[in-house]
């Protein structure tokens, strides 16, 4: 029994010491935060793992660039600003909510940023509203965030599906024709995008000849493409984002559908475009921000700075992160306080300075809705452009303010605390 004895004791010792180490490590951050009590803290609760990890990572880069710039210029209200990053994971809302609470309760952040997943953004918005913290959503697209579930303390940088649809509908009809068939992802983002597209197209005498709801994460689009082609439209509109769009376009081009029908869509981003084989980079799309803007001041510097940091050009997501952090700093500066209520009021109809807006049109947070209205870039995906990474040829820059719906349409009834 001696052997078992020795083994047993040493295992127990390992476990005990392990627990002790774990205990010390948990205490670690507590010690750290006592030191940095002076800094202004921005908490980022965004997915860094899972299917939208690439988007979250790019937003993080944008945030970090903004933090460096702000600190170089003296910080926020004279205090240094620091970014606390938490991976909300792409799991369920519980983790994102828990991290949000951790950031607010334990780390005492002054601003909350996140989330790219619509559900998680909504869940976090409930927490930030309950705790009265200023909350910026960089890239969560569900309309409800600045619509039916709007809150006085929640602001959003990326566009609503309404805006994207309105921006691209005219281009589709002009270039391709009136009859469209929709491949729509079956979740809130897809539904609202399709509804907005149908309405926008109808207003221009377009016709919806059919459509299919595809489950998120659909791997094989062939059956839907077969149906789409049979309906004989002028253009097949792909509303599926990210990896789904990648699969759908890749397969559509393999089928040679682009020779019979036009292929296009609404929402598009650099990250999935980079994953497409060059021959599948076709179609009319709308992007929320694009790096290649000749003639627009300050953009080239931003692109250079990003390239120096990462070796790649900035994407819309990089810009979202950048704007989100800068919004916090500018709000505090304008309100001259870190109280969420003051800052939220200061942000109503607040215009971003050109070196942050980085676009031809003014960028401002629409009052009563807290939605950023900036520029939308309608154009064509291209296999190769004037420079490496130039995968998109911008044909028209739309003014966001002109394609945003009215306040009533959004369904936002903002309640301010008394």
């Amino acid at each position: 029994m001696a052997n078992a004895d020795a083994r047993g004791i040493s295992r127990r010792r390992v476990v005990k010491s392990g627990l002790a180490v774990a205990g010390a490590r948990i205490a670690g951050p507590f010690v750290m935060s006592a030191r940095a009590a002076e800094a202004v803290r921005i908490g980022l609760d965004n997915p860094l793992t899972g299917p939208v990890a690439s988007l979250g990572k790019n937003e993080l880069i944008g945030c970090q660039m903004a933090i460096d710039e702000i600190n170089a210029r003296g910080g926020v209200l004279g205090r240094p600003v620091e970014l606390i990053v938490e991976d909300s994971t792409s799991g369920d809302a519980g983790t994102a909510v828990m991290k949000a609470r951790k950031l607010i309760d334990r780390d005492k952040i002054d601003f909350l940023l996140g989330n790219d997943n619509s559900a998680l953004a909504l869940a976090m918005a409930q927490v930030s509203n309950e705790k009265g913290i200023l909350h910026i959503v960089p890239g969560g697209h569900t309309d409800a965030i600045t619509g039916s579930s709007c809150n006085w303390n929640v602001f959003r940088v990326c566009n609503t599906t309404q805006m994207e649809a309105n921006a691209v509908a005219a281009a589709l009809i002009e270039q391709y024709g009136k009859k469209s068939y929709y491949i729509t992802p079956d979740y809130a983002f897809g539904h609202t995008l399709e509804a907005a597209m149908t309405k926008a197209i109808a207003a221009l005498d377009g016709e919806r000849v059919g459509g299919d709801l595809t489950p998120l994460g659909t791997v094989d689009f062939s059956s839907y493409l077969i149906k789409a082609q049979a309906a004989n439209p002028d253009v097949i509109v792909f509303l599926v984002p990210g990896d789904d769009m990648l699969n759908a376009m890749k397969q559509a081009v393999q089928f040679g559908l682009q020779n019979k029908v036009h292929l296009a869509g609404a929402h598009q981003e650099m990250e999935p475009l980079e994953g497409l084989p060059p021959e599948a980079r076709i179609g009319v799309w709308v992007m929320e921000w694009y790096w290649n803007q000749p003639g627009v001041p300050h953009v080239a510097e931003f692109v250079e700075a990003t390239k120096k940091r990462t070796g790649r050009v900035p994407t819309a997501r990089t810009w979202f992160g950048y704007v989100s952090v800068w919004t916090c700093a500018l709000a505090a500066a304008k309100a001259n306080s870190l109280k969420a209520l003051d800052m939220a009021k200061a942000l109503q109809d607040f215009h971003l300075p050109p070196e942050i807006a980085l676009g031809p049109n003014p960028a401002f947070y629409c009052a009563g809705q807290n939605q950023l209205l900036a520029s939308l870039f309608v154009g064509e995906a291209q296999a190769k452009g004037s420079a490496p990474d130039d995968f998109f040829k911008v044909t028209k820059v739309v003014n966001g303010a002109k394609v945003a719906g009215t306040l009533e349409e959004s369904g936002c009834k903002m309640k301010w605390p008394t």
């Binding site: 078992a4 774990a22 809302a93 951790k102 869940a123 079956d186």
Partner: protein, 316 residues
């Protein structure tokens, strides 16, 4: 000797749970973490009713966890009921589902039973995802929150007060755990252990195997759905991802990590796992590798779990 040790463990755990909000904050944790550990601990212990004590592996318990959560959330959102009735409604929904599914799959065992539970878990994930009108789909069920509990003579504010909610969750936890303990010590519980040890022999002894396993499955799902209801209340939110196989796998690892053969094992496992995941995901983007490594290490080197090892150490 063993009984004294067991009692000692019981008392130690009760004390730690009772004072969690205090010592948690002192070591850099936060109250919500403690609440989450209690909820996950309940879920893992419920799973262990089936896994550790009946010897049947279910890898799809997240489905019933999620059903309990959705039931609770929908009850509050659409009918504005109080927190406790909401949890009860969630439990009812999940238990009925467990009864039906259990009857369907009872003939399978071992690896195949596990596979089928995984597949059924996915079914509920889809339903939650697609039935947009009712469940809110991918966006989740939002626009509701837990209401203060009205006892008639006093009102317990569990809405704003994190600590109050922790104790509410702990109360529900205590009720469920006590029920499980009673069941496990009953003749029914004994026959479950007999089935775990040697199913064929139990069958020869006249134990109605299928019925017992089915009942164990249903009971296990009943308590896990109570944990799910608490989870929905904790977050004031529920979305389909809570029903994914990831959560099922996490519950199993919690049970194994803490010690499948002991009553409190899964709670310890839940505490370690939840705290570890929270901590590691704050430190590095590669936390998935660390968690995966935990799975691998536990299976290879600590299959009996923390409490299993401590017990062996003490005996020898």
């Amino acid at each position: 000797m063993n009984a004294v040790r067991a009692r000692g463990l019981d008392v130690a755990i009760c004390l730690m749970l009772l004072f969690a909000p205090f010592w948690m904050n002192a070591i850099g944790g936060y109250t919500e973490l403690a609440t989450r550990i209690v909820v996950m601990g309940l879920a893992a212990m419920s799973l262990n009713f089936l896994l550790g004590f009946t010897g049947v592996l279910s890898f799809g318990h997240a489905a019933y966890f999620g059903l309990g959560a959705y039931g609770t959330a929908m009850a509050i959102k659409y009918w504005a009921v109080g927190s406790i009735p909401a949890i009860v409604l969630g439990v009812i929904v999940a238990t009925i589902a467990a009864m039906i599914i259990g009857a369907l799959i009872i003939k399978l065992r071992g690896v195949y039973f596990a596979m089928v539970t995984i597949a059924f878990g996915q079914v509920f994930y889809f339903i939650a995802f697609r039935w947009n009108a009712v469940t809110g789909g991918d966006d989740g069920l939002t626009g509701w929150r837990r209401l203060p509990i009205n006892f008639g003579f006093a009102e317990l504010d569990i809405v704003q007060n994190d600590r109050a909610f922790y104790y509410f969750a702990l109360a529900i936890f205590a009720v469920c755990v006590a029920a499980m303990a009673v069941l496990l010590n009953s003749p029914f519980g004994r026959s479950l252990i007999a089935i775990r040890e040697n199913e064929r022999r139990a069958r020869f002894l006249g134990v109605p195997i299928e019925f017992h396993v089915w009942l164990s499955f249903v009971i296990s799902c009943l308590f896990v759905s109570a944990a799910g209801g608490l989870y929905a209340l904790l977050n004031n939110f529920i979305d389909p991802r809570a029903l994914r196989v990831d959560l099922s796998g996490n519950l199993v690892i919690m049970a194994v990590l803490g010690g499948m053969r002991s009553f409190w094992g899964p709670l310890i496992g839940a505490a370690i796992f939840v705290a570890l995941q929270d901590y590691v995901s704050s430190q590095t983007q590669n936390w998935m590798s660390v968690i995966g490594l935990v799975f691998v290490l536990v299976v290879r080197f600590f299959p009996r779990g923390v409490l299993g090892m401590l017990r062996t150490g003490a005996k020898a």
